[in-house]
């Protein structure tokens, strides 16, 4: 599907070495800065669609806009923006990656040092691969299906399906894009572009929650709240857990929706719908064993249910948190 070193490849994978080559020697101009700003604004709207480009110059500008967007983020050093951008860009990349043949996908994969080997004699016709354990651990998504305990693991190789491989590459891309460059002596134009983006952000201070204090909750919940505070991307089960937990504490739906406002892919509409749905269905809080199974347990409280935290004495809580 792709000429691997080609310009189209570089457009689809703007973090690749070929992308770097493609824009070598291109001067940053106003058009590229506008494109870069749009790229960040697109992320803020959860729009992960790609762009259809025909002319070579447009393609090059598009690739350059990725690099410039990262520079702007490097100047702003705003976690929310950076993580939102990384999530969105990796989703865009995933749309392309899923359409590639294995050979091209492998080229993208190897940019992140992910080199799965096709597994001989895969069952049921579905293609499977083996990935070395350290690489698997570094890039697998934090969800129960990817927990090591649920995988086939032999001699340091983890068995993965083709779609899981792509998902792991997406995760690696997200982590890669999250690491923004430090920009020394930034050009005025870029600073200006950054300022404009900040002005368009919703005032996060106003959505801050007075009602919910991190230290009032068990260590696993506290950690998730802190992650949201740092605008980290939480896996589905973690969000589900938070929603059921706070619903059980009779926290208002409005406040629960606000909890998630820090998520890099936050959409008030979707969150509100999901929280309402969980409430309507009356799902209960998962037990500690289930939380452990999700890979979200971070302490040794021995309380059986996260809600039991609120019956513990102050001293016991302190001991656990230590």
């Amino acid at each position: 599907m792709a000429e691997q070193g080609g310009l189209d490849f570089a457009v689809r994978y703007p973090f690749s070495p070929s992308a770097k080559d493609a824009i070598a020697g291109i001067a940053v101009n106003d058009r590229i800065i506008i494109l870069a700003r749009n790229r960040i604004m697109k992320a803020l709207m959860n729009d992960s669609s790609g762009r259809m480009l025909i002319h070579e110059a447009d393609k090059k500008e598009d690739i350059a806009s990725f690099a410039v967007a990262r520079m702007i983020l490097g100047i702003l050093r705003n976690n929310y923006l950076t993580n939102t951008f990384a999530v969105n860009e990796s989703k865009t990349m995933d749309r392309y990656l899923n359409r590639e043949d294995d050979e091209t996908a492998m080229i993208v994969s190897e940019i992140f040092g992910i080199s799965p080997k096709p597994k001989a004699g895969g069952k049921g016709g579905e293609e499977s691969f083996e990935l070395d354990l350290p690489t698997y651990l570094r890039f697998c998504p934090r969800s129960p299906a990817y927990r090591l305990i649920n995988r086939r693991l032999i001699h340091g190789m983890v068995e993965i399906k083709s779609n899981e491989w792509k998902r792991i590459v997406q995760e690696a891309a997200r982590k890669h894009i999250e690491r923004i460059p430090i920009v020394k002596d930034p050009p005025e134009e870029l600073k200006e572009a950054g300022k404009k983006i900040l002005e368009s952000l919703p005032k996060t201070e106003n959505t801050k929650l007075e009602a919910i204090k991190v230290e009032d909750h068990p260590p696993c919940v506290a950690k998730l709240l802190e992650s949201l505070g740092k605008h980290e991307n939480l896996p589905h089960q973690a969000r589900w857990y938070l929603a059921t937990y706070f619903l059980s504490l009779n926290t208002s739906e409005d406040d629960i929706v606000k909890i998630f406002s820090g998520a890099p892919d936050y959409s008030e509409k979707v969150t509100r719908y999901q929280v309402a749905h969980i409430k309507k269905k009356g799902y209960s809080v998962p037990s500690c064993a289930t939380v452990l199974g999700y890979g979200l347990c971070v302490a040794d409280c021995r309380i059986g249910s996260p809600l039991a935290w609120h019956r513990l004495g102050r001293q016991r809580k302190g001991e656990i948190k230590r």
Binding site: D132, L133, P134, L137, R138, R142, P144, R147, L148, I149, N150, R151, R152, L153, I154, H155, G156, M157, L292, G293, G295, C297, D300
Partner: protein, 375 residues
Amino acid sequence: MNEQERQLMAKIFAGYYAEAELDIPSIEHREFGIGNYKKIDARHLSFANVSDFRRYLTTNTPFFVSHSTSYYDFPAATPIQKKQWTGADVVFDLDIHATGKYAAYAKLDMVKADLLRLVDDFLIGDFGVDEKDLIINFSGNRGYHVHIRDPRFLPLGGDERRELVDYIMGHGLDYSKFFSDSYTTDSKKARLIGPRPVEGGYRGRFTRGVIRLLETEPKSISRLFSDPMKREFFISGIKEGNWSKTSLKFDDLVSRLKIVADGLAVQSVDTDAGVTQDLSKLIRVPNTIHGETGLIAKMLKGRGSIERFEPLRDALIETKAIADETMMILFTEDVPALVLGGETLGPFKKDERKESRLPLSIFYVLKGSASVVIR
């Protein structure tokens, strides 16, 4: 312990450190911590090489010495962000908790059995770590430490290490998922498809465990299997991954196999202290002395030496300088009988006196159960 006793102990330790085998790779990139009254009184220390470290141990002679599992560009820098982390060994701390000062020593064999399983089944078998990249040592008190120094594992972050611990401890293990969903149906024609003994990881170990149990104690699964014909027929199916060659109902069978699943994980990994997942932790330096016992955190080379190792016999300080020395001690509390240095000692009553070889006597003094009788 009074000051005079402390000085006496330090002198014995210093004699050991003068000739101890202190082989610490990348010593210049590790942070050190030392302790006299606590395990760690001071940290953020660093040593340029082994001879500097040895000089420190022979002159200052702390009771506890630990180093970081992490490697840093600037190990002595503070705060920790300035150290510039470059990677960390993956370390597992295995120990046993028991009530009473001496109860754990009787159970050290259990920890050793866990250690061997951890190394053979999990680290080498499942994780694919090469034996040459494993450092295994006695902790100096109630357990063992395993350090993985395989360069591929060094960059792993805390969450990723936690995943390894969870795997080893079987957290979230649901063995019923090894079987295809059809096991809940009661139809005679349905097949229960499950793992095969040749598979890796928990699936293979579980299957081999079931076969072993069927062959040794068939009744602990079901009385049906005391009949050799029925047992062999069932086992022949398992070897093919077909678990339905029995008249037991599928869900009943699967629930009866819990007994095997429960014994698969390594239980004695100590997660409370967060040694594996907390990258800022310090751990006892292999081959240094544990100041609460006077036992050496002895490095064990090769599988055979782990099997033969008896902590209370092989981890005593045995330097030439003290080979013929004895020490008279006075017990300050009752102490149960113990096999120490190949001799059965005790039980001792409070106020009893006993003269023994030096390394045996200092064990009780350091444990806080006796005082030195100065003659």
